[in-house]
């Protein structure tokens, strides 16, 4: 049992280590969700003062809104920002509990400190998403093959373990000998 738990934890750590580079869409989504915490929101975590300024441009009263005042926060696929070499533009759509809809785009660029994206600016109005506002990232084809292989491996491991335990339980002497 302890070995199995250790194995699963190791597998999770390997998976975490295999994590792809950061997605700009995910960062913008978290930045927008932080505006849904009211005064407790921390948009500065996503790009310092520039991210706070961008938040003020999108929702000037985000600090005084009640937590949960934003009913929907959606982002579309990132695309290279016009005229910029590395910056990405991420479209977003916000719907408040009052029914107000705000669309816009956030500009993100690689953080100066390295390791991911930072929100550099944002503007509102007239933006449409090519993904129709459903989440744009997802599993590659190989991931589905891996899932099928994983079930075969898991079933085999489980069958072998239970078979061995059943055999040793039926012949306690052989278990003691081994």
């Amino acid at each position: 049992m302890r070995r199995a738990t250790t194995g699963v934890i190791l597998l999770l750590l390997v998976l975490a280590g295999c994590a792809s580079s950061q997605r700009p869409e995910g960062l913008v989504e978290r930045w927008l969700l932080s505006l849904n915490q009211g005064a407790a929101g921390t948009p500065d975590r996503y790009g310092g003062q520039a991210a706070v300024d961008a938040a003020n441009a999108v929702l000037p009263d985000w600090r005084t809104r009640d937590p949960g005042a934003l009913d929907r926060v959606q982002v579309g696929s990132a695309a290279p920002d016009r005229g910029a070499a590395v910056a990405q533009s991420v479209p977003f759509r916000i719907e408040t509990m009052d029914g107000e809809v705000i669309t816009g785009a956030a500009i993100v660029h690689p953080c100066p400190s390295g390791g991911g994206w930072c929100v550099e600016g944002a503007g509102t109005g007239g933006v449409e998403s090519t993904s129709d506002w459903t989440w744009p990232a997802g599993a590659h084809g190989w991931a589905w093959v891996c899932a099928v292989l994983a079930t075969v491996v898991l079933a085999l491991i489980a069958v072998v373990i239970v078979s061995v335990v059943r055999k040793t339980a039926a012949n306690p002497g052989s278990a003691a000998a081994t």
Partner: protein
Amino acid sequence: MSERDDRYRRKLLFLLSSATFFEGYDTFALPFVLSLVLVDLGASERAAGVVRAVTAIGTVVAFFLAARADRVGRKRLLLVTIVGYTIATAATAASPGLIWLTVAQFLAQVFLGAEWAVAITIVVEEFPREHRGRALGIVTSMNTLGAIFVGVLAAIGLQDLTSLGWRAFFLVGLVPLLLVARGRRSMFETERYEAVRGDDRSERLDHASLLEAWKPAYRATVLAVGLVTFFRFFVVSAGAFWWPYFAQQEVGMSVSLSGLYLAAAGLLGAAGFLVAGRMMDRFGRKPVFLVYMAGALVFGTWTFQVHDTGLMLPVLCAGIFFGLGSVAMTSAFSTEPFPTYVRSRAAAWCRNAFEVLGGVLGALTVGILGDHVSGPVGSIGDAMSLVTIAMLPAAMVVCWLFVPETNAEDMAAMDEAVLVG
């Protein structure tokens, strides 16, 4: 007329259903009022995460309490857990600060976890074999209805009806104490437990060791059932935890609509327990479990691939029907194959060790895989579908090959064999 006639069993079913109802109720009460609690007690989201982690550990600790039912008796432990839970929930309502609330909710989870295990054991021991499945279906379905009841109370604005605010939700948890006051006198110790403990030959059996369920005669069955419950709950727990996030962030449903869908699907899905209970009495535990797992595989995978809000509701209902409904069979698997003197400890291993571990790792795995910023998959929906495909067939294979069919199991004959042997 026998003391344990149909009327007594109906009363017993009501008492046990109340216990599992409040297990579901309490599990969802804190998440529902969390934002109010944080404001009232002046705590942060990070502190809320700690509260969640500590209370989850209570379900694991419940293992030690649940296992005591083989030593102190089912009736006594059930009453102790109900009283313990009501004291803990009253303490929660009276919380002056977050540490008090965390300790009270931890204790509530310890008592609730043990209460569930002993309730299932009582059903298996007190109902005739032709009605055991149906009774298990009813008792386990109450867990889901308890969870829905929290949503109903929130929808009618319980938090605003009195000056108590969020604390009113925990005062509702005092209701079981009234049931104990009634049940204490009219409830008997289970017939099987009394018969075994009253037999002189049971003196040589070990009624206390937690490892008794791992002795050679039961080891393979505990492991097989444990793995089945692990694989199943890995998926079911992750699905229940991540569906609201998936619906809101990846499908684009509003918070209110996703809440409405979850309540409606939960209500319809609760029928899955009742249908499972009737079917398992008629066709056996294993065939029905395999059908339910196949349904959960198809509709569970599909649920997390749907991006159309109109299609979501029927697919979600089917997913909940098969996914949650299958607990009626796993409850039978974890109790019926074992003789009375060790049954509660075997059930505690299967549920509080394997199942809880699967629940924790399932939600964690999907979160790591589907993290929107850095996850290898990058989508909670796809991560959830991948995990469903990876886990549920493994549960089906282990069940098919190693879990014994107990539909026609004669508990008295099984106990006699142990006492003689």
